[in-house]
């Protein structure tokens, strides 16, 4: 399975994310090939760990799933285009 191009989260079922998930994101040491990581919600509104990986990556990644401590994990494809400041 490949990561989604653009993740479309649902509205979180609770206003505040689980404390343990916040701690996980703050302390997370990204395993290769994870590039960015953060907080999102699944399409049905469950709080989840968000990671970006190269588009060609076969997911799920065992190491990331282990780090995720049972929280849902959303894998999004890291675009080829680099992130640039948006002045013109």
């Amino acid at each position: 399975m490949r990561p989604v191009k653009v993740h479309n989260p649902g509205s979180p079922k609770t206003e505040a994310p689980p404390k343990k998930l916040l701690e996980l994101i703050d302390r997370y040491q990204p395993e290769p090939p994870v590039i960015r990581w953060g907080l999102t919600a699944t399409s049905d509104g469950r709080w989840a760990l968000f990671v970006t990986v190269p588009e060609s990556t076969e997911i799920p990644l065992a190491a990331v799933e282990k780090s995720g401590r049972g929280f849902p994990i959303v894998y999004e494809a890291e675009p080829d285009e680099p992130i640039r400041p948006q002045h013109a």
Partner: protein, 356 residues
């Protein structure tokens, strides 16, 4: 009697004024209106100002007859109420910038058709034009620079509330750590002193990796403020093309529907796909000579319907929750698919300011 070009040049300012008044509807009521109890006269409408649903440029209609050489600002209402112009919003009670105002009733079925045709509230050219007073969402730049960005919005000092600043990005107001404090900020793209409205006051230094410093610190914000030199030049509490702007910070959430007013793509809508995003690497240099800043705590936004939420020139825009108009993030980067913003609360805390 006004010519077409006179009305065209007045209509944007008129709309901005009307939006502002609609956001503080009670303040706009004249004592006469309050006494007349217009709320009751308009039935279920919450405020007399909600009776107005559209504006435009048109030909004067007098006693049912069109006068083709007389151009006016048209104000369309759900229900025509006798004496509306005299009773409510002061803005409707007299000519605006010398242009007469016609109030016309437009039935609901026609409104829906019209709304479809005018879905895009502003054009990029309007965001790039010279605007006085200046609202959030307008094109700005360090005077004479070769690049432009967007004025996110206005903020005021917590310790000295009368001091107002323009808030945008470091890379817009300070050219990525390069410009000295006191640099003149112009609206729009201009080398003229007459377009200066603020001076660079403070910026958060962006930590950039270079061969000499391959492991710099990480960043949380790309932000800077410029003190407004003359408050009559700006319109606080106003976001160009967004009528419900409410200058009160709100925390971003995944799935939140958002909007922004920016210099290049105008008013766009999108959805927050992730928050607290760490490890975002942004190249402030070139492909051959990269200058990488790594950001934590970012907000990621994707545009609605596959459309880009932002493009080059939109940097500095406030990202607002669409439903409430409250600012949730400060746009600073993107890659054509998603837009990256930083924590606006962190930026306000850094400069000890709040939106105004």
């Amino acid at each position: 009697m006004s010519a077409l070009n006179e009305v065209l040049s007045a209509i944007d300012d008129f709309r901005s004024d009307l939006f502002s008044i609609q956001n503080s509807a009670e303040a706009a009521l004249t004592p006469t209106a309050a006494r007349a109890g217009l709320r009751g006269m308009l039935g279920n409408l919450v405020s007399p100002l909600e009776n107005i649903h559209a504006t435009g440029v048109g030909i004067r209609r007098k006693v049912g007859e069109l006068l083709p050489s007389e151009f006016v600002i048209k104000v369309y209402v759900f229900h025509k109420v006798a004496g509306l112009g005299k009773l409510i919003p002061k803005i409707l009670a007299k000519p605006f910038h010398g242009v007469d105002i016609d109030i016309e009733e437009l039935p609901v079925m026609q409104i829906q058709a019209k709304k479809k045709a005018t879905a895009s509230a502003t054009t990029p050219a309007q965001h790039q034009a010279r605007r006085r007073p200046i609202p959030g969402g307008a094109e700005i730049q360090p005077r004479g620079a070769s690049f432009v960005g967007t004025l996110g919005g206005f903020v005021r000092s917590i310790s000295v509330p009368s001091t107002v600043f323009a808030l945008s990005n470091n890379h817009v107001l300070a050219n990525t750590n390069r410009l000295p404090i006191g640099t003149e900020i112009a609206q729009p793209f201009s080398a003229s002193l007459t377009d200066v409205f603020a001076r660079l006051t403070s910026f958060e230094t962006i930590q950039l990796a270079s061969p000499a410093n391959p492991f710099p610190g990480r960043n949380r914000i790309d932000a800077a403020i410029a003190r407004v030199s003359n408050l009559t030049l700006v319109r606080t509490g106003s976001m160009f093309g967004i009528s419900n702007y409410t200058p009160s910070l709100k925390a971003p959430l995944p799935g939140m529907t958002v909007t922004k007013s920016g210099r290049t793509t105008g008013v766009t809508a999108g959805r927050i796909s992730a928050i607290r995003v760490n490890g975002v690497r942004v190249n402030y240099g070139t492909q051959s000579a990269p200058l990488i800043g790594t950001f934590d705590g970012c907000i990621q936004v994707v545009g609605n319907g596959g459309n880009p939420f932002s493009a080059g020139g939109d940097s500095g825009s406030f990202i607002l929750e669409r439903a409430t108009g409250r600012p949730v993030a400060l746009l600073f980067a993107g890659n054509g698919i998603s837009t990256t913003a930083c924590d606006l609360t962190a930026a306000c805390t850094r400069f000890s300011v709040i939106p105004v």
